[in-house]
């Protein structure tokens, strides 16, 4: 049970970064931390004690871990890269227009 609690603490560290930082790049980094901890939490459910990975070898039939959450998390990892790429493009465009990364200043200047 303590492993689940530690993974949740990692998620809360990322949430703290999103809520309190003023810098746009730190917000992007904190969002990535939240995403990694969410994927790790799903795979923690799929582990079976003393089991091997889900690939068959010739002539053996051992006890395997759960392959279904692994297939779903594979999708999630790929989507996370798309999110990061789009956020970085948005941040570059904002820097070009407002000349700062500070989110409090971006709210006050007019376009």
């Amino acid at each position: 049970m303590i492993i689940y609690v530690l993974c949740f603490v990692l998620f809360l560290v990322g949430l703290y970064g999103v809520l309190t930082k003023r810098d746009l790049i730190k917000i992007i980094l904190s969002l990535s931390i939240m995403e990694y901890s969410a994927n790790l939490f799903l795979i923690l459910f799929a582990y079976k004690k003393d089991a091997v990975f889900a690939i068959l070898s010739k002539g053996e039939n051992p006890v395997m871990v759960d392959p279904l959450p692994q297939a779903l998390v594979l999708t999630s990892i790929v989507i996370e890269l798309g999110i990061t790429a789009m956020l970085v493009a948005l941040a570059i465009r904002l820097y070009q227009k407002y000349n700062t990364f500070d989110i409090t200043k971006i709210r006050r200047l007019s376009g």
């Binding site: 990975f53 690939i55 594979l74 790929v78 570059i92 820097y95 070009q96 000349n99």
Partner: protein, 148 residues
């Protein structure tokens, strides 16, 4: 990123190692149904090989060698290819994205129906898409005070 590329030593070594990296990426894509890996991992490996060329030789040489306009079309084409395989599944077997080719024997390279073909399509899509994003970021000069 500079336009000229790096020194002669880097260019000479890149000329040899980049083909090994591309071969490794193709191996991981093709053996996706036998060993861990698959289309996504192999696609990123080939994209990193192209990024290596862009860093070592500069932007002008890479845009001539890789034909950037072709890459934009290739990305859209591979998405359509995935859909065509799905529709062929409806036409032949009755359900979308069904496994309609012959399945072969277990543990062989040519087996498991449409799974290797889908792996190749996904590999092409991921490789070209990620390289195009990094290419556009490399062309873009961040200047202060509005667009220039």
């Amino acid at each position: 990123m500079q336009n000229k590329g790096m020194t002669v030593i880097v260019k000479t070594i890149t000329r040899f190692t980049v083909w090994v990296i591309i071969l490794y990426g193709i191996y991981i894509i093709l053996h996706g149904h036998l060993t861990p890996g698959g289309g996504f991992a192999g696609g990123v490996i080939i994209a990193l090989a192209f990024l290596n060329i862009m860093l070592a030789y500069g932007r002008d040489f890479t845009s001539d060698w890789l034909k950037i306009n072709l890459l934009h079309d290739l990305e859209a084409t591979s998405a359509i290819l995935f859909l065509i395989i799905g529709i062929l599944g409806v036409a032949i077997s009755g359900s979308f994205l069904a496994n309609f080719l012959s399945k072969g024997k277990l543990f062989r390279l040519v087996s498991a129906g449409t799974i290797p073909i889908l792996n190749i399509v996904i590999g092409i899509k991921v490789c070209v898409g990620l390289f195009v994003v990094v290419w556009s970021l490399a062309l873009f000069h961040i200047t202060k005070g509005g667009t220039e």
